[in-house]
């Protein structure tokens, strides 16, 4: 069994004054709409079961109202669930006392927010040092320790500015430095880049990927943007109306969408940048041609294979062992935008 850092088991969240008493109806299968009409309660999350692996980026994706921000706030218990369990390293977060929870938040988990959540009356340096100050580190020492993180996110020289003097992208860098400074092993990111311009967003994704390569945090990343999810996520859970409708790695989700809703999502994706060689190869057989790493995306495999003599190549795993072969036709077919179910190719017949 794969290692689990954060286990979410049977999590339900109902918003309303009598949440516990309507729990039975919800377990019995009452829909979100029905719950709202009959009991005037809002179903936030429905039977969520997600395992987050350690030291990788797990993305939770969903459109607005899908419950993704509610879900991430359960992990550090900013929101209390109506039912279910949250286990971090096997320890039940919901069973923690007030003091234990505060310790947990101070040392083991930190968070980055969509609207930055910076303290506008504090300077950049004071904001970055905030988590350490809360831990009880003296202000001077905390600033000293957090300086390296400000440098790391490219904000040296701005220590004495106030957040209102910075652009959105720079403010979120402060948020990131603040979250990293506490050395927590879990980093929760609630749509951290959604408020930023597209160019800045790509920039910040690069910063994050660079940091992750070095730090190997357990990272839970929320987004409504599928491109972002595919770019960052080593595993992705898709949320709709408060329920997880598909979980898997990016390859799985693109190649085997669980339902029409997800199919609609993924059909416009640039597949050549996501699908890897191993997903379209013919396993087992070995052919005459160059060798490609198994996780090479098709976009990069294409020129190599088309330049090869027989338009084919071997696919090798991380240890250099051949695990299969790939032909030009397979690559092209993999890149092609999938047809709507029903009209398979009919338009061009």
């Amino acid at each position: 069994m794969a290692e689990v850092k954060i286990g979410i088991e049977g999590l339900y969240k109902i918003f309303g004054p009598r949440a516990q008493s309507v729990m039975e109806d919800v377990r019995g299968g009452m829909s979100k709409q029905e719950l709202l009409e009959r009991h005037d309660h809002v179903l936030g999350l429905k039977d969520i079961n997600v395992d987050v692996a350690p030291r990788e980026i797990s993305v939770i994706m969903g459109l607005s109202g899908s419950g993704k921000s509610t879900l991430i706030r359960h992990i550090n218990r900013l929101i209390e669930p109506t039912s279910g369990r949250i286990l971090v390293d096997g320890q039940d977060v919901l069973a923690m006392t007030r003091e234990e929870l505060i310790e947990f938040r101070r040392h083991r988990v930190s968070m980055v927010f969509q609207r930055f959540g910076l303290h506008v009356h504090k300077t950049v340096a004071e904001n970055a040092a905030y988590g350490l100050v809360i831990q009880g580190v003296s202000v001077g020492q905390a600033k000293e320790q957090s300086r390296k993180w400000l440098d790391r996110v490219g904000l040296s020289g701005f220590e004495n500015h106030y957040p209102s003097q910075l652009s959105g992208g720079m403010q979120q860098r402060v948020g990131l430095a603040r979250a990293l400074a506490t050395d927590a092993e879990i980093l929760l990111m609630d749509e951290p880049f959604s408020a930023l311009d597209p160019l800045i967003r790509t920039d910040m994704q690069d910063v994050l990927l660079g940091l992750q390569e070095e730090l190997n945090k357990t990272l839970v990343f929320i987004t409504h943007d599928l491109d972002e999810a595919l770019r960052l996520g080593e595993s992705i859970a898709i949320l709709r109306d408060g329920a997880v409708i598909q979980q898997g790695n990016p390859q799985d989700i693109i190649l085997h969408p669980a339902d029409d809703y997800i199919f609609d999502f993924v059909k416009d994706i640039n597949r050549s940048r996501v699908i890897e060689a191993k997903s379209v190869m013919t396993p087992g057989e070995s052919v005459d041609g160059p060798s490609l790493p198994h996780d090479l995306v098709l976009e990069e495999a294409l020129p190599i294979v088309s330049a090869a003599k027989l338009n084919q190549a071997n696919v090798v795993d991380a240890d250099g062992q051949a695990i299969g072969s790939i032909r030009l036709g397979q690559i092209v077919a993999g890149i092609a935008r999938p047809a709507e179910s029903g009209d398979q190719g009919e338009r061009y017949r």
């Binding site: 550090n76 930190s110 910076l118 506008v120 905030y130």
Partner: protein, 296 residues
């Protein structure tokens, strides 16, 4: 049809008995506890008298310099400092120095008292909706009930003098600081608080590190309002024996001395404007981080 033309009121005799019972009850209460309550306020009286004597005994140039220095510390504005010094010179020149010092003393002590009681009360109010619903009507009563009405029990309890005057001033002047502290804390952005929660801040760390600093503009508006309202109570307070600028105003009302009334009234206005400008500028200066918001 007597029922419709005559309001079905309480029997006269019963009403008289009820009023008598209330009066008697309160009189007994003041006889019983009046002295204890007076003793309780003894340190306050001592401080007030000491402060008033200090202001009156100090040489006037020292006082003016000290006030100008305070105005500078608060406002960092030469205009405000010059206005402050000139006003006090004029007040002295027109023979109102002594009374102004008395008024200054009681206003300062009343404001300090209001701040030390009002800000914690406001914080308490912001902590839960239940305390807010409990305290709000009390504040409404304190602000709207005619001052003369609460002068009666205060005088019955403590007699005539500085302490009952101080209490009357505070009853009238404390609501704004309580209200605006509560409002300021409640208006603090949810995101800022949520971030504090996420990093494991406890109640004290949230209160002193996030809520109060971000509520300061409103808290300062409250302090400013409290000072203004305290000043406006000076004349009424003089009716129950508080020395100061209110006494000559009261005298000029009963004797139709226009000039006397006008001069002392204007002295109160001058004090009000100085207090207002200094405290407002100080509040603005605390908001350094709001500068540079134009950055895109």
């Amino acid at each position: 049809m007597d029922f419709l033309t005559e309001f079905p009121s309480m029997d006269r005799q019963e009403l008289r008995d009820l009023k008598k019972a209330i009066d008697g009850g309160f009189r007994d209460f003041s006889r019983e506890f009046g002295e204890a309550i007076e003793n309780f306020f003894e340190p306050l009286l001592w401080f007030l008298v000491w402060f008033e004597k200090l202001l009156q005994a100090a040489p006037w140039p020292v006082i003016i310099l000290a006030l100008a220095a305070l105005a500078w510390l608060g406002s960092r504005s030469k205009t405000v400092v010059a206005g402050c010094a000139l006003s006090f010179l004029a007040i002295g020149y027109f023979g109102m120095w002594h009374d102004t010092m008395s008024t200054l003393a009681i206003i300062s002590v009343a404001t300090l008292l209001c701040i030390t009681v009002g800000i914690p009360l406001g914080i308490l109010m912001a902590r839960s909706d239940r305390t807010q619903t409990a305290i709000t009507p009390a504040l409404d009563i304190m602000q709207t009930i005619p001052a003369f009405v609460y002068l009666i029990p205060v005088v019955m309890l403590l007699g005539i003098g500085k302490v009952p005057g101080l209490i009357a001033v505070c009853i009238y002047a404390i609501p704004p600081i309580v209200r605006l502290t509560n409002l300021g804390i409640r208006l603090v952005e949810k995101e800022a608080l949520e971030a504090a929660d996420a990093f494991g801040a406890d109640y004290r760390q949230k209160l002193f590190g996030v809520q109060i600093p971000l509520a300061l503009p409103n808290i300062f508006a409250g302090v400013n309002q409290t000072i203004m309202m305290a000043l406006s109570m000076v004349v009424i307070a003089s009716m129950i024996g508080v020395a100061g600028l209110g006494v000559p105003v009261l005298r000029s009302v009963s004797n139709q001395y226009l000039a006397l009334g006008l001069m002392n009234g204007l002295a109160i206005v001058a004090l009000a404007i100085i207090f207002d400008r200094v405290s407002q500028r100080f509040g603005e200066r605390l908001q350094r981080h709001r500068r540079g918001i134009e950055h895109g």
